[in-house]
Each structure stands twice: as C-alpha cells, then as structure tokens.
Amino acid sequence: MTMLQGFQIALHALRLNPLRSFLTMLGIVIGVASIVTVFAIGSGAQLRLQEQIRSIGANVLMITPGAVYQGGVRLKDGSKLTMTESDVQAILEQIPEIQAAAGSIAGTAQVIHESKNWNTTINGTTTGHFMVRDWQLATGRYFSGAEEAGAGKVVILGSTVARELFAPGDDPIGAQIRIMKVPLEVVGVLDRKGPAQDDVAFVPLSTAKLRFLGSASNINRDSVAYIIAKVAADGQMAGARTEIENLLRQRHRVPAGQDDDFKVQDPAAAMEAQQGAIRTVALLLVAIASVSLLVGGISIMNVMIVSVTERTREIGIRRALGGRMRDIRLQFLCEALVLCLLGGAIGVAGGITLSMTVARMAGWITSIDGEAIGLALVFSIATGLIFGFYPAHKASRLSPIDALKTE
C-alpha cells in the first residue's frame, strides 16, 4: 500500500463523519489560527517599528527636555523647554563627531490649499533636520539661509500632505498654501519615508516662532522643543552622547548631583529594545498557542484510539485480505495526518482572517509571512505524527483472528 492510497482511505473514512472529524481537529484549528494571528500581529508591530527606526535615520541622537526644578520641586519631564538654538549651535561647533544638528518646535494645524484642507503636524526646523534624517526631496528645494534667518513664508511638504492638498497632476512647487491664516509658498516636497512620517509640513524654525507661536508665555524666543543630531559613525554614538551631556550640563549650569534638565536618547536603540520586547511577547503567546496545539493533538489521539476500537473488525478484515501490519499503521497514521493537515489549513485560513479583522478593527499593521504559515503547518504535521503514532501502532498490532471475532 502506498502513501497515496493511505491518504485516499483516510479521506474516505473522515468524509463519512464530517462533524466528528471537524470537532476532532478543532484543537489544531484553534492552535494554528492563534499561532498565525500572533505571528501576524507580532511581525506587523515589528515592521512598524523598523519603519520608524529607518525613518529616524541612522546614528541619530535626540535631545529632549528633562527634569526641571522650581523651588526644589521636580516638575514633570518636558514641562519646560530647556533647549535653545544656541545649544544646537554649540553642539555643532564643539563636538567633532556631530555631522549635523537641528532644533525643532512642533504643533498641529490645518493646512489649506484652495478648496482642500488637511490637519497635520507643523514642524518648525532648519535644513539640518533633513540632513540628520537623511531625508531627500522628491521635488523642489530645502530652505535657503535667508528664509531660515528671516522667517521666510515657505513650506516643505511631506508626501502625504502633498497628496491630500494637490490633485495628482498638479505641481505643488510654487503654489500658495495657508497655515493659521499665514500664506506660505511650497518650495519642496519630500520623498516618502513611511505612512507615520510623511504626514507633516516643515517651515523654517524662525517662521514657526514668529508667525505661529505668538507670545506663548513659557517660550523663550531662543527655545526649541527638541534637538536631533547626527553622529558621523556608529562606533561614536556613546562618545558623542557623553560629550553632548557634558556640554549641555555646563551650558545649562546644572549643579553637580542634580538631574539633567535634558535627556539624550538614541531612538533607534530604544526602538530596537522595544522590538526585542515585542519578539519576546510574541514568542510567549506562540508558546501559549502551542499548548492548544498540544491539547488538539491529545484530542486527535483520543478520537483515534476510539476509532481503532470501533474499527477493530475492519482491521481484521484488512489483515485477512493481505494488509500488512505496516499498511494498517500507515492507514491510521494517514488519518491522523489528514486531520492535522486539514485542521492546520483551516487554522491558517482562520488565522489570516482573524489577523486581517484585527488589523481593520484595531488599526494595527499585521503582516502574514510564509514563514509563520510554514511553521504552523510543520507544527500540525508533527502533531499528527506524534499523536497519531500510538493509535496507529496499536491498530497494527491487533491479532487478525481476534480482530475478526469482535462484533
């Protein structure tokens, strides 16, 4: 008897009792579906993180406001803008490892072009920002020195904003748009960097301060919300970080023993750590889902043992008609395998459906890769072999004479 005949006999047997077959494989279905879903959500989250890491750019340090003390009371981090444009200048001039640096302030506002409008992030910064993030233009130019110095009424659009404000054929360059009633000329459109990054409009830092901030009380004219700086080489990250910390402590006159009023972060490293955490959680969830696979396997073994008992006479007949022990074993092993594979296939389909539903409802990115599906199917085949073997072996060991005598 061949493997193919084994599968044919198995399919025939399972078709006769579809409900029972389905219930038998339910554990496998649930196990495989959860593994596929967990993998899809996990790798979706990783993809998004990777995209964020890429969008930040390589070897970037980010400096944000830190602890602030007022009359001995520690205020929440970031409650005061402690960084300034002169800090940016000092970092650029005094730390040789820093290639580029830029300060930013940011907020959200409505951007209007003719009849279209779009709510987006407005980032006031300098051309250095694009250098730090390795962000190229799709069309147009960066800010000129005069525009940066003189609060020029110019704007560079992220690709999402350009798409939302302009019809596909329209050239945004030279067009007038309005942000908070200020007319601005579009001078550049940026390359795509990722859905989360492209929804932004950049104006010169001086423009943002003069025309958008007004005279907000806690804003020093020189302040920036955060600074990003690009380090020349990967190996210089730690050194550059220490130098920035020393420089800023000195410039901000932070007394020894007191917390810095700023924080220097390596966003890519932080995200990589986060990515590791996601992987750990995903693995944990897969381990839990595997328990369901185990339970599914036990349920298949249980039903198979019952089935062998019920079909003792059939086994006797097959043996009398020339079936070898290994033919009987193959037949029942094939049944277990078909159950597991079918359950696995239904589980994969269910997992894909489930993760797509989750993606739509929760707005998460999910990603279904062949690897997860392959792994789930390998798991189900292994389950079939492991839990099918004992009943199949038991069936093959029945004495044909005794088997023929059973009713």
Binding site: M1, T2, Q5, H12, A13, L16, R313, E314, G316, I317, R318, R319, A320, L321, G322, G323, R324, M325, R326, D327, P400, I401, L404
Partner: protein, 241 residues
C-alpha cells in the same frame, strides 16, 4: 514418477490456546494434504477446531506444533509481511458473516485485496468488475453492503475472495447465515467455481452440503476423525441445481 506437490500440507499440526493459564487444545495432531483442484468439506461439531484449522491454512495463525506447508514452503518460516502478501495473492477468504466493509460499496470491497497486491486503482476496478460478473453481481457494483441481501453480500464476498486468482478459497460456514434456498445457490456457485479448477476448502455444519463435496474431513475435539473421498462422483447437475 513423482506425485505433484500438494497445494497445502498439514503435518502433525496442533494448536493450543492458553487463556489465564488454562490450555485449550483447539487442534490436535492433524495431518492431511490438499491437492490442486480439490473441493474439501470440513465438518465437526461446534468447538471442534474447524475455524482454528482454517486460520492456520489461511496463514492467519501459526500452529503451536507441527507445520503447515503452502506449495512446499513452511509458512512458519516466512516473515509476517510475506504471509500477508500470500494472503492477498494466494488465499481467498469467505466468512459466515460476509465481513464486507460497511462503508465501501460492492466494487470497492471486491477490489480491496488488490490494494495490498500493489495494483493501481484503474486495474483494480476493472478486475473487480470481472470478478463481480463471475458471481452475477455486476448490477450491484455500486451498492453498499447494507443495501444488499445476505445472499448478495456473500456473492460479493466470494467475488472479493476470487479477485486475485487465489490458489485456494477458504470458506468458513459460508451458508451459515443464509436461508436454505440462498445457501444452496451459494453452494452451487462454489461447485461451479471448483469445476473451473478452483481449489476450495469449506467448513460446514450441513451434512447435505458436505455430501456435495467429493472429500470430507471430520474433526472432533480438535482431532481428525475421518478423511473420506467419495469413490463415485455425484452427477454434476445435482451440485448446481
């Protein structure tokens, strides 16, 4: 001149079952030969060891003592796999309770032994049709056992026993579950097969049936008490009618 090698030889065959330490001698020291083309009735009261003997001839079981030879080969010296293959190719079983697979239709049941001979599906079904034709059941090829009468089921079972052109057909009370009329028809079928040269060993309770076989072996308490061959052939028609 040497006599042709007997198909089956039993030499001092005994079978002892041991259950809970109690030994039951089901067959004791039985010897006989069966030649190609014979039809043999095995008779004896219930529990006299007929089925046990049949299982040993059919390679389903091995003697505790003595030896069974199939075409000169001691079956105990063959591997289990080899014996299985011989069951598929050289032995055709017919049981009292038909033993068709309930979940397969007639033609699939008939073709089953060929699965274990390594015959492809197309060829299996073609040969199953021929076999069903030979027992007059081709018109029921796609019926399931439960849709067939007892006599029809037994015909399908005989078609299955014949499909691999076996050396010998072993029938264990093939008419035991049938009414006398249907039983006679089945018996006529066996007689016709034997006339075409098929070797048959048939267990039966019915002395009337036994008289239609040329040779009768009688068992009692596991022992062979008589092995008689009729000198005079019955007129062939009486076996068929």
């Amino acid at each position: 001149m040497t006599a042709p090698l007997p198909l089956i030889s039993l030499r001092s065959v005994s079978k002892t079952y041991r259950t809970d330490g109690v030994a039951v001698a089901a067959v004791r020291n039985v010897s006989f030969d069966i030649a190609q083309g014979e039809i043999v009735a095995v008779m004896g009261p219930s529990g006299s060891g007929k089925s046990t003997l049949m299982n040993m001839i059919g390679l389903l079981d091995l003697p505790s003592e003595g030896a069974v030879y199939l075409e000169g080969a001691n079956v105990a010296e063959l591997s289990e796999d080899r014996r299985s293959l011989l069951r598929a190719r050289s032995i055709g079983f017919v049981f009292q309770s038909y033993n068709l697979l309930a979940r397969h239709n007639a033609i699939e049941n008939v073709a089953l032994p060929l699965v274990y001979c390594g015959v492809g599906r197309k060829a299996r079904l073609a040969r199953a049709e021929t076999s069903l034709q030979a027992v007059g059941m081709l018109h029921r090829a796609h019926h399931f056992p439960r849709q067939l009468s007892g006599g029809e089921q037994q015909r399908v079972a005989i078609a299955r026993a014949l499909i691999a052109s076996p050396l010998i057909v072993l029938a264990d009370e093939p008419t035991g579950a049938l009414d006398s009329r249907t039983g006679a028809e089945i018996l006529a079928l066996f007689a016709a097969l034997n006339r075409d040269g098929q070797t048959i060993v048939m267990i039966t309770h019915d002395p009337g049936i036994a008289t239609q076989c040329r040779r009768t072996i009688r068992l009692h308490d596991g022992e062979l008490v008589s092995d008689e061959t009729l000198f005079q052939l019955l007129p062939k028609r009486s076996a068929v009618s």
